[in-house]
């Protein structure tokens, strides 16, 4: 027997679909959570690292971004498990409020989504077990049990908790036995999450102190996770409010009963084009690592949806495709007092210019990445707003084709160096060179003393220095 969405109590119907046609089609929706700004979908979540969107301090987040929701990975907060209770669990907040929200100073009206792992996540060398998921913390690989994860959700009370999925990252294509396990474990873990939440709802006076659960849909064909999906629909449908999709192509396989739930993508799109493809399949909410990846590479995003000629600078030939981003490391920007993108109204574009940002990158000043990150998020805000308008107009299909014809398919190659990479952001392989070049050399090392002046610019040639009036070549 199946339940339809209309049978659900009203507070469960946080997600309203405003416009859709068939199953595999773009759709417009609105995710409304108590006390939060409504999230118009399709939209994206700001991707955080240790509680902050990379490069953006919390005051800048409030003042200079319009990010409506964020994704936070629990693995960023539980280094001390199981030896010590993580500090986050010890923070007491008023009953209706989320300690996690307080801890990371997230504004009250921003949607807070918690999952176990970062996006993208680092594959762990140890496999998941029947009861626990392998995670990567800033002090190394750990495991978190499904029970602990469910307890953590009760403790930190985000708006949405993404259920644990048993996905063997970094492993070869799983065999049939492993696939069975994936589906069994994911079912068990989702059940644990649901039952602990229901226990909380019974004791809590105000049900809004609670959180919603997004159930994972494994990156497997429908037939291979039938068992899990059947249980999800028969036993847990009332308790889940959304789906976490780990592979966009399986959107086609979603059972009828869960069609109306919001879909959060954990299938990171590599480019705006890949993002549009997922939207065309009916994806609603995204986590998009390429925003920060572009920022770290010093690339300021420069695209709009649908594409409009007037918004793109430069007068290339008609047949030539436009680039999706501008590499701000290039010295051609050194004298440019134009904004990163024409018509962009973000803080970086209204208050600063390319020359300054190019200088900041080449001087490796942190503000360079701050400004590009603010801009890149503004570009994504406008991009999604354009997508929603396009779906509302009913022109998404043709606009998508126009976008693909107008822009190059991939973001530009990175040419400059990014900021320092931290240990929890990558896993080193064998015989790998150092990720971060040494900032300092031995002082007064023989032979090197002449090349090792304390100067910010190792590339300066005497002739250039003379030309810019810094000093002159000595005559004697």
């Amino acid at each position: 027997m199946s339940t339809t969405l209309s049978d659900l109590p009203p507070e469960m119907r946080a997600f309203t679909i405003l416009k859709t046609s068939t199953t595999l089609a773009p759709r417009l929706g609105r995710l409304t959570l108590p006390g939060r700004k409504a999230l118009e979908t399709p939209h994206y979540l700001g991707n955080t690292s240790r509680g902050a969107v990379s490069h953006i301090s919390q005051d800048n987040f409030q003042k200079n971004t319009s990010i409506n929701g964020v994704y936070v990975a629990l693995e960023d907060f539980v280094e001390k498990l199981p030896r010590q209770t993580p500090p986050l669990y010890q923070l007491e907040s008023p009953k209706d409020e989320s300690p996690l929200r307080d801890f990371i100073a997230l504004p009250k009206d921003t949607v807070l989504v918690v999952g176990a792992r970062r996006v993208p996540c680092i594959p762990c060398p140890t496999a998941n077990t029947n009861s626990a998921l392998s995670i990567y913390t800033s002090v190394g690989f750990r495991q978190i049990s499904a029970e602990d994860y469910a307890a953590a959700s009760r403790k930190v009370r985000p708006d949405i908790v993404v259920g644990l999925a048993d996905i063997p990252y970094g492993q070869p294509q799983p065999g049939l036995k492993r696939i069975d396990k994936m589906s069994d474990r994911t079912e068990e873990w989702t059940k644990e999450l649901v039952s602990q939440k229901n226990g909380l709802d019974k004791t809590a006076k105000a049900p809004k102190a609670s959180y919603q659960i997004f159930a994972p849909i494994l990156p497997l064909a429908k037939e291979l996770q039938t068992w899990y999906l059947d249980h999800l629909i028969d036993d847990m449908l009332d308790d889940i409010s959304g789906l976490a999709i780990y592979h966009a192509q399986f959107l086609a396989d979603l059972p009828e009963q869960v069609q109306d739930l919001p879909r959060l993508s954990f299938d990171p799109p590599s480019s705006p084009g890949a993002l549009l493809y997922q939207i065309s399949l009916g994806m609603d909410i995204f986590t998009i690592p390429f925003i920060t990846e572009a920022t770290d590479a010093g690339i300021s995003l420069d695209f709009a949806f649908p594409p409009s000629r007037s918004e793109v600078s430069g007068g290339e030939d008609a047949g030539k495709k436009y680039t999706l981003g501008v590499d701000m490391w290039q010295s051609e920007h050194a004298l440019s007092v134009t904004p990163l993108s024409d018509n962009c109204s973000c803080y970086a574009c209204t208050k600063h210019h390319r020359a300054y940002i190019q200088h900041l990158l080449s001087a490796k000043e942190m503000l360079g990445w701050v400004l590009i990150q603010i801009h890149n998020h503004a570009i994504m805000d406008a991009f999604f707003a354009g997508i929603r308008e396009s779906i509302a107009r009913g022109t998404f299909g043709e606009d998508k084709v126009a976008f693909e014809a107008f822009y190059k398919p991939e973001l530009p190659e990175k040419s400059g160096q990014g900021p320092r990479v931290r240990g929890y952001q990558f896993k080193s392989g064998q015989n790998e060179t150092k990720k971060n070049p040494a900032a300092y050399k031995v002082l007064n090392a023989p032979e090197e003393s002449s090349s090792e002046a304390p100067t910010p610019n190792p590339d300066a040639v005497a002739g250039d220095l003379e030309k810019i009036g810094f000093a002159e070549t000595a005559k004697s």
């Binding site: 902050a52 942190m366 005559k475």
Partner: protein
């Protein structure tokens, strides 16, 4: 030519040599005494100009040497100076080249500083005229002369004297080369190491040249604090009352509080912002290393009652960031460094504000006692140099 600033003395401490004033500069007035954060490469370590403005800062430093290399004079000329370049509507002071750190690589001659090009090893020459020309292009509100800096700890008195005399001659060349005295204030820099006679001679020579403001240089290079205090005390006694006095490279809170008592007005140091990036918070009870595990469960603000956006509670429009969160992000996410940088800069500016208020009310000795009492729990821990220096200006820290 009238200077591009005016120094408005508001109050003098009746016991110490401390002064409170307003310094009117081309990009607006600033209160003295003042701490100036250092935005070496036209950016204050990750903060936007608005974030810096919000800490209360109205005068920050840029480094001529760094801006000369990057973005270079041509860019600065094309864009119209450093204010436009970094979108900073307030005042900028450009420090000249601190060649002291380059001694192995640079050779000072009468003409200028000879050094090897950082890239190809070609010998280069940097002159006082170059330095001023660069600072004219930067357009900073206060510019500094090129000086010959010797480490104060150098035992070579003859070389020290040579450097002092040369700095005076270079000042003359700087004054001559300065194109915009009507909108940029050239400060001289008193040299002379730790030798008080040399310092006195230099001060006399420099004062005669009547620059809009006067800096005491060559200090804060690892010398004994007692010797530092003697030099500052000696110089300020010989300086005209109606001019701002800038002690270069000083930034520890104790040093600021003592130097103000010795009659200094302006200070700069990279320490508050640098130490923030290492997870150290400056507070009125001392410096806290927030990377220490003892702070991981400390859900208090970095400093209770601090009004910076990081510490201020949410109810008062702040972020309500806790020590535990700084512990969580320190040295891991740059956003953590930005938050602590905001706090540390605001702490320094607020310390100056409180000192100024005390001078205006003629309660500076009490302020100094209160300050040391909070930083050091016990009087026996008071640094001897501070006790001695303050005794010299009539404040007995150890008295009840």
């Amino acid at each position: 030519m009238p200077p591009a600033l005016s120094y408005e003395l508001l109050a003098k401490c009746s016991v110490t040599k401390a002064r409170a004033a307003i310094l009117h500069l081309p990009h607006g007035p600033v209160p003295l005494p003042i701490f100036m954060p250092v935005a070496t490469q036209a950016s204050l370590k990750g903060l936007t100009p608005e974030q810096l403005e919000e800490t209360g800062c109205r005068l920050c430093l840029n480094n001529t040497y760094h801006l000369g290399l990057k973005p270079g004079q041509a860019t600065l000329d094309a864009i119209g100076g450093a204010h436009k370049f970094q979108s900073w509507p307030h005042n900028i002071l450009t420090v000249s080249f601190q060649m002291v750190s380059l001694l192995k690589l640079a050779k000072v001659t009468e003409e200028g500083v000879k050094f090897l090009s950082p890239h190809d090893g070609t010998p280069m020459l940097l002159t006082p005229e170059h330095s001023i020309s660069l600072q004219n292009s930067i357009g900073s509100d206060i510019i500094m002369q090129l000086d010959d800096v010797i480490a104060t700890t150098s035992p070579d008195l003859a070389r020290m004297e040579e450097a002092m005399d040369r700095s005076v001659r270079w000042l003359d060349r700087c004054i001559k080369a300065h194109k915009y005295p009507e909108r940029q204030n050239l400060f001289c820099i008193i040299q002379g190491g730790l030798d008080l006679d040399l310092r006195k001679r230099c001060t006399k020579e420099m004062v005669e040249r009547d620059t809009p403001g006067i800096a005491i240089g060559g200090l804060s290079g690892g010398e004994e604090k007692a010797a530092y205090c003697k030099v500052v005390d000696t110089c300020t006694s010989l300086l005209p009352e109606k001019k701002p006095r800038y002690v270069m490279g000083v930034g520890y809170p104790e040093d600021l509080v003592v130097s103000i008592a010795l009659g200094a007005d302006m200070f700069d140091c990279v320490w508050p912002t640098r130490t923030a990036r290492f997870g150290n918070a400056i507070t009125s009870t001392g410096v806290l290393n927030l990377r220490n595990a003892s702070f991981q469960n400390d859900f208090n603000p970095v400093e209770e009652g601090c009004t910076c956006v990081c510490c201020r509670p949410k109810e008062k429009g702040g972020l309500g960031i806790t020590r535990a969160y700084i512990y969580h992000v320190a040295a891991k996410e740059t956003a953590g460094a930005h938050l602590l940088t905001i706090h540390n800069v605001q702490y320094q500016l607020n310390l100056m504000k409180r000192a100024r208020h005390a001078i205006l009310e003629d309660k500076y000795p009490a302020f100094v006692k209160d300050f040391f009492g909070k930083v050091y729990s016990d009087k026996t821990n008071f640094p001897v140099w501070a006790v001695e220096a303050l005794k010299g200006v009539g404040v007995d820290l150890l008295a009840d």
